[in-house]
Symmetry: C2
């Protein structure tokens, strides 16, 4: 990709991010009555459900704090982050450190998951907001949350998930991947090299040949049944770039190479050669995944793939990585974007038809789209000289 | 429908049931090593997951016990029921009356839902099996289970589902519908007229004009948000014929008429005029349902609709009911049936393409297909003279 093509791409991503994606959330997500942010927004921004999903609200706080700190200190961005963070601190956080998954418009709790991810996103939000406003105590609180999450991470009975004797012990890719991301984002002033190495080792346990499995036994063996054959290509691609970022920081070149292969292999495994787009789930042995939505094309794996392939290409100058990036970019801009109302659709069927018209829902907030656009835009701005 | 058409239809359903659906389960579901029944069967019957889902195993016990008692006392049918019931009693039932949702092949527990439906299907299985083998104590045990379920039914905190202050109090259509079915199937020698009337009243609370909502407030008011707009057409159609059966038994003619309208209105609300088939979920106000699978076409709503429309037609001779039946019958026989390996596919996308090749999974067992075929076949055999 020559400089001219890169400039053109950067401009396209810049316009998509600042003119069509961020304004959607700036205009429609603020709850002026009860504070905090709405996340269930229809195609045109209409609030179709006032339930507030805390993990998404935390992601939006993270996003606008990041923009304020990394792009420019716009007061309006900080206000959105502040409104979200105030609501989170008041209504999402329980005294024991657990975080509600969903609350009503006025903050009364609706649902508590028996997982750890709402807590993870709360810590990410708090840390990034603390750095945006330069607030040491908030950052320290976020770091204490990460330590608590670390204690829970591999034993979910601590967050009330019962573990019964017939369930094969399993490790989820999501856990070490998330912990690595928490270290990178929150534990910035702490030496976490042994924890980072632990995450590297645990992630590597999921990789068997060209396949990165979502679930393996705690010592890395394949599991029986559908869970043991399950691949979530978007997840693996996301894990790939998280891993690459961490490995680059600590200068682990073999882990960098490993993460590149994870991304490339998952693109091959996950791409639908007939209709285009990345499958949501794949069964490694060709059975039908039991998830009803397995063949759908979701926005977020494509967001992860945009940045991961561009990152690979920036560092390798390998045309195969550029081809993968362009494939995803073509799919995204011909399926998910909505020039009329902004933000992206989240869900297409296998053939690529939009199945859900809303832009925000219980699992889609202000996060993957702006994060991917921001990361790509930053990478294109600071393109490594070696890749020219 | 004249006698000749009826005979032809009866023969077609008879062949589908006895030659292509039941043999699939007879040949592939028995676990000869650990006892009990497999339910995760691929297109050709291959076991792709040895996990046993207790609510499906209970449904299969119910089905084969019913066949033994109502069709003919085939020893092989009773053996299947016995194998399933023995496994259930040994591995599914906890001392406190709760029933595991899923167990490993050898019976060790894997998962416990915080719902009441595994318990309901256990009671149905036990009662029908008791009647098949004429075992009074088993039947009494099933009746005691129903009494316990009755106590839990409208307060799921008794089955460990936390109820948080922000969640609007709601009643699920599934609950009174299931209780009515339990009365009909299990409490055969008991006077339950006040309980039946309670179920009638509670089901009626869900009906607002042409729409029957899945969730309403306990006093029948509409709820805010996606849950408050949600319609599950297959569920409503099933509720319709359960209600009609119970209302017929107690001679409540206005409730019979009410149930007919529920079935007819849900057919109109649920039918996809563009691609055919019944939607899985519909939002009454035209928003996109948040469920990713909302526009898919599932086997079971069509199974319920086959019998419900045929029942309406048998009792009304109204050609509109016959047209609805034929619409569903056409869709089923051109989409779900598999003449090569038997049983039916369970899942099509909106356009009607099969998305999952398996015949049995965590939510699809030996139940809706043979039940619908059996009920239709029986109805066609004992066609009301008034409908001729």
């Amino acid at each position: 990709m020559n400089r001219q093509a890169r400039d053109k791409l950067r401009l396209r991503y810049e316009q998509e991010l600042f003119e069509r994606v961020l304004p959607f959330w700036e205009q429609h997500s603020l709850d002026l009555k009860y504070g905090g942010l709405f996340n269930n927004l229809d195609r045109d921004g209409t609030v179709y459900d006032t339930t507030k999903h805390m993990w998404l609200l935390a992601r939006q706080v993270w996003m606008f704090s990041k923009l304020y700190r990394m792009v420019e200190p716009r007061q309006s961005w900080l206000s959105i982050a502040e409104s979200g963070m105030t609501f989170l601190a008041k209504h999402a956080l329980r005294p024991d450190g657990r975080v509600f998954f969903a609350v009503a418009r006025n903050g009364q709790p609706i649902y508590q998951q028996r997982k750890i991810f709402s807590e993870c996103f709360y810590a990410l939000a708090l840390a990034e907001y603390a750095r945006a406003i330069d607030h040491t105590e908030h950052l320290e609180e976020a770091m204490r949350m990460v330590e608590r999450i670390w204690d829970w991470a591999y034993d979910w009975s601590k967050v009330n998930r019962p573990s019964l004797s017939g369930a094969a012990p399993a490790q989820m890719l999501a856990v070490p991947l998330m912990l690595l991301h928490l270290i990178d984002e929150v534990m910035i002033s702490t030496d976490c090299s042994s924890e980072i190495n632990d995450c590297f080792k645990r992630i590597a346990l999921h990789v068997h040949g060209n396949h990165t499995f979502e679930y393996v036994s705690p010592d890395g063996h394949r599991l029986d049944g559908p869970n043991g054959r399950l691949i979530n290509p978007g997840h693996v691609i996301e894990a790939g770039w998280f891993l690459q970022k961490a490995a680059t920081k600590v200068g682990d070149s073999s882990m960098i190479e490993f993460s590149r292969s994870m991304i490339r292999n998952s693109q091959s495994v996950g791409w639908d050669d007939v209709h285009g787009g990345l499958y949501y789930f794949v069964d490694a042995e060709g059975f039908s995944p039991v998830q009803l939505e397995w063949s759908m094309k979701l926005w977020w794996p494509h967001c992860e793939a945009l940045y991961a392939h561009l990152l690979n290409y920036a560092n390798t100058s390998d045309s195969k990585d550029l081809v993968s990036f362009q494939k995803i970019d073509d799919y995204v801009f011909s399926h998910f974007v909505d020039p009329e109302y902004g933000e992206w659709y989240g869900y297409c069927d296998r053939e690529g038809r939009v199945t859900h018209r809303f832009k925000g829902g219980p699992y889609k907030g202000c996060f993957h789209v702006p994060r991917a656009l921001l990361l790509c835009w930053q990478l294109l701005q600071h393109w490594p000289l070696s890749a020219d």
